[in-house]
Every structure is written in C-alpha cells, then in structure tokens.
Amino acid sequence: MSESYREMWEKLNLDLKAHDGLLEVLGKFYGDIYMSQQGRLQGMEYLDFVLSEVHGLRIQELQQAKASGKKIVGTFCVFVPEELTLAADAVQVGLCAGAEAGMEEAEKIVPRNTCALIKSFIGFKLARLCPFTESCDMVVGETTCDGKKKAYESFADYVPMYVMEVPQRKNDRDRELWKAEVLRYKEELEKRTGNTITAEKLKNAIGICNDRRRALQRLNRLRAAFPVPISGRDVLLINQISFYDDPVRFTGSISTLCDQLEERIKKKEGIVPENTPRFMLSGCPMAVPNWKLPYIIESAGAVVVGEESCIGTRNTRDLVDESPETLEGMIDAVCERYMKIDCACFTPNKERLDNITEMAKELKADGVIHYALMFCQPYGHEVFKVEKALKAEGIPMLSLETDYSMEDMEQLKTRVEAFREMTG
C-alpha cells in the first residue's frame, strides 16, 4: 500500500486504523470468494485490479478530478440520472453500502429494524470508513422507501444531502412530477458546478451511459450461454464496479471481456459443467462487497445466470432514446427511461413480475432465488407476488431473507442446497 494513499485517507479524515482493518477483511474476503475460482477469464484481471484499488487509485482519480474543479456526486440508487451529472462535468459514484460497518454508530441515528443497506451507508460515514463519501461534494438521495427517505433526513447532518422525489405510480401526473424533479436536479447541478448543461453535453453523456448499458447487456446475453462461461459472482462484481469506475474506461474493459467470452463460448468452454443447475437472482440490490448469496449458491454446485436487481438488469435493461436533438427532447427521453425502472417502490408494479418471468424463461433458469434484505418492506411484500407469477409459469422459487452478517451462512447453505436438489 503506497504511503501517498495513507496521506490521502488522512486528509479525507478517515479512521485509519479501522480503515486498515476494513481493507484487510475485504482483501481476505475477496481472496476466498473470487481469487479461489478456477478458469476465470483474463479480462477479469482488470476488475480484480479495480477492486483492489477501490479505496486507492480510484479515490486518487476523484481527488485529481476535484483539484481540476470537477464536483463529485455520490448516489445510492439507480434513479439518479447520471446523464445529467456527467453533462454538468461532474463525476457520479455509487457509495459504499454493502458491508457491515459502523452498525452500532448507525443505530444511534436510525432504528434498529432498518435494513442493512441503509445502516451500512450511515455506518460507513459515521465510522469514517468510506473515502467515496468523504470525497463527495453532493450526495443525492431519493424517496424509494420510507427507510431511506427518513434516513436521509438524519444523514443530512453529516453530508451535503440532496433528495429527489421519486413518484410512487406511473400515471401522467407522476411523470410530470418526475420531470419536475429531473429539472430541479439539473438546476441544482448547474448551480453547484457552475457549468451549464447544454444539448451537446447531454447528448454526449447519454451516449456514455447508453454505451455502458449496452456493454452490460451484451455481457448478460453472453453469460447465459450453455455451458455458462462466467461465474455469477464475477458478473455481479462487474455490475457493482460499474457504479464507481470511470464509465468510458469501464465500457472498454467490459467489451474486451465480452470478446473473450465469445471466444470461450465458441469453444464450448464453461466455468462449470453444462448440467450445473442455473439459478437467477431476483430482489434487493447487492452493493459491493455483498457477495454472500452468490457465493453460497455457487459453492452449492449451482451457477447464477442473472441478477434481476438494481445492481443487475434493473439498471441496464432500458436505454435512453438517442434520437432527440434538442435539450428539452433529451430531457424528456431521460425522464421516460427512468420511469421504466420496475422498482418495488411503485404501486402497482406488475411490470416487474412480467420482467422476472420473461427473464427467467430467456435465461433458461432452473429456478429463481428471491433475495430480500431483512426489514425491506417493498421487496418483502413483492416476494409473494413474484412466487405466484413464477409458479404460474412452472418455475420454482426459493425466498431468502437475510442481511450482511455471516451468522446465518449455514442455514442459507442448507436452503440453497435443498433448492438445488429439488430443482435438479
């Protein structure tokens, strides 16, 4: 670890000792879950590198961007329109929310029965462990659940908070509300960055974001081949890294990786034998470094072939229409794309059920494992509907509810193995 990183972390006011501990645990965890895999593609080296430098080189880049006058925008949700952020010459990064850190601290400002994701981002801040959060000039929240909505009120005491209102339905007046929110965000960005979002800049940003989505869509198509050419946890990692890596560089690396995948598919090479049970994950997002469930599934002799999740297809399925030429037309296209997100915060949310069944069929999944974070009301409620919809299609589903702790590993393993036996 270079001394310059330590200096940088010190300047960011991290708790150096606790941060060293976190990196050590993360490194070991990554070694056990990722580096132990056999037959990984060479293109994964880039992702190994990016992850190993997650709090190092990437933070250094953010600091350099800041020094050159750019603003850093932190987010927790796929609803924040990155196109606008980039068009304002700012950098957008997803913030740490996938590990058990600073939980005791977090429980001082949010109730105990709050989901692990919320507790995690608060814990990372209060325990001074996340250099991304510390680098932010603006943290953008959104009203996708009551837990987050209320947590952002408290979080505003610690970070430069800005909250977008996400409507709960998809009628005309909801679309109007969303457009007003997108415009309000645009103004806020312009005010904070001092840059004007022009048609040219927005067009370029839409292209960058769509290119990244296209690269991930291609990855998602290729991964579903028979035999499966890449592990589910590797694809999850790629999706996770897409939230904080430089978008253009990331898209290039994923395209190279996809070329390697095509080679492998041509040779009929699999990361697992062809008859390995194929499971699709569905439900709550898995923020980095939350690899618990994919690791359990793939250690139980199955393979993950898709993630119906915000860190998965919910974030990559829909593109922004690239045909409008005026600023107004582009903003409408951005609004429209984001209102296609089938988040469980909407009522009704029939689209998600259709998307899940369609995706499971396309992937030729042997079963779906629904993952709900403990205390997550929206996804917890939808479990029942998802199971019913899948049952109607004859697709088995296992519902799991868990958090970031490791104490229920054995129980989860038993359930996942029994599900594999059942679907095999």
């Binding site: 509810e401 104490e407 229920d408 129980q411 038993t414 359930r415 193995e417 029994a418 036996e421 059942m422």
Partner: protein
C-alpha cells in the same frame, strides 16, 4: 449395506439399510465432538458407503473416514425418509434441535416446496429445551407436564429469550405453571401451523424429529389441524433413514 448418518444440532443418528430393510439404528448426543460420536455410532460396521445429512453433514466429507461418503440436505433426507415409512405421505413436519422444517412432497418423496424457520431457534426443540430448564423439568417430561394444564395462557413472544421473560412474569403473577407450560407449547404449535400452511399443507402429514416425542405438541397440533398425525416409532431417525434409502437407490441406479 448403506449407512445413513444424520448429524443434527442436538443428536446424531445412524440407520443401516440392507435391501430396503433397517438392520440397525442408534442415536447419540452430538456434543462438541461430532466426529468421535459418528465413529462410536459406526462401531465395527463396514457399509458400502455413508450418506450424510443434517447440520454436520459436511464434516463427514472432510473427515478421514474409510468409506465413500455422499451428502444430501436434511430436507431431502426427511422427505425420502417419510416416504419410506409412509409411501402416501403428502407433507412432512420436522421439529428438530434448532430447525423446524415443513416439506410438501410429490409422489415418491420428491420435495415440491419447503419452509424453514429463520436463524433464531424460536419454535424449535431448543426453545422447549431451554424453557423446560427454566421450569426445572426434565425435557422428556415437559410435554406431559404441560398437558396437565387446564387453561392455555397466551404467550405472544416469538423469541426464546422474551418468551422466557413472559413466562417468568406470568409465574410472578401467580399463574399455574402447568398452564404457562401449556401456553408455551401452544406458541410453538401456532408458528408451526403457519409454516405448514405456507407450503400448502395436505394430509397425510408425517410429524418427525425429536419434538415429535412431545405428547403436548402432538395433542395441540392434532387439535389445531383437525386431523391425526403420522408419527414414526423413532421420529428422530427419519433423516438418517432417508439418507440411507437415498444411498441404496443411488447405488442401484449406478448398478443398472
């Protein structure tokens, strides 16, 4: 001869099966040295292979054991074991030391759907064991003690620790301890019935696991469900039996 070994959280069982006939069965507490308990269970027998199941099944594959070892989950093992004893069984309930499982069966003992309790031990054997200790009553007698109650006091807490607190406050309020015990048993049954409904309970229902030895749970379950339960003579052997039966059929499959 195939050995089925079920290493549960509280007890370990062995069943030896020869051409679908049980030739030997035995049970020991799991303790903190489950592998030496397994060696004691095996004694001098020389099975063709061992099929391990239960919480500790992976210990068998990692251990230095002279026979080939395979493993299946306890869910599959209980399903096969139940179908072995009761070929027409549609649902299995297993309340063991720290897990409660409800399993819906397809014909032939294949698992159609299953539910398990969460990470906490509420509503399991451990819950009853803990509370029996609070009552200072030996575990095997706790069920019949509760059956002597004449009024089912309501215990609302799902958590073992809080249920104890509730029981203690009821005692402090001068309630008949037998009625409190009855209430505690009823709270287990209430949770269990919900779990059975979630898998789509159909009769006949097989009740297995160590808690199927508790007469009060049996009585309250039959009352709540309005139907008699099928209870094997050795309810905690069903997992080991299912494992052994799986081993015989997979060996037969290979010899074909």
């Amino acid at each position: 001869m195939i050995a089925g070994i079920d290493i549960g959280s509280r007890s370990a069982e062995i069943v030896l099966l020869e051409k679908q006939k049980i030739v030997h069965q035995d049970r020991l507490p799991t303790t903190f040295e489950p592998l030496s308990q397994v060696r004691r269970l095996l004694g001098n027998v020389q099975p063709l292979k061992i099929v391990g199941t239960g919480y500790g099944r992976n210990l068998l594959t990692e251990a230095d054991i002279a026979f080939p070892v395979e493993t299946i989950t306890e869910i599959k093992a209980y399903a096969i074991g139940a179908a072995f004893v009761y070929p027409r069984a549609c649902t299995v309930l297993d309340i063991g030391g720290q897990d409660t499982k409800a399993i819906a069966l397809m014909p032939g003992g294949k698992v159609a759907k299953f539910e398990m309790n969460d990470r906490c031990a509420a509503g399991t054997g451990k819950f009853l064991e803990h509370l029996a200790a609070v009552f200072q009553i030996p575990v095997p007698e706790f069920g019949s003690y509760a059956l002597e109650g004449d009024r089912e006091l309501s215990i609302n807490s799902m958590c073992t620790v809080f249920a104890e607190t509730e029981a203690v406050s009821l005692m402090a309020g001068g309630q008949n301890p037998r009625n409190i015990a009855l209430g505690l048993h009823a709270s287990v049954v209430k949770r269990t019935v919900n779990m059975l409904r979630r898998v789509g309970l159909k009769f006949p229902l097989v009740f297995a696991g160590g808690v199927a030895r508790n007469p009060c749970i049996i009585h309250l379950l039959e009352k709540a469900l309005g139907a008699p339960l099928l209870i094997p003579e050795e309810p905690d052997m069903l997992g080991a039996l299912g494992a052994a039966s799986f081993g015989e059929s997979s060996a037969a499959e290979r010899d074909k």
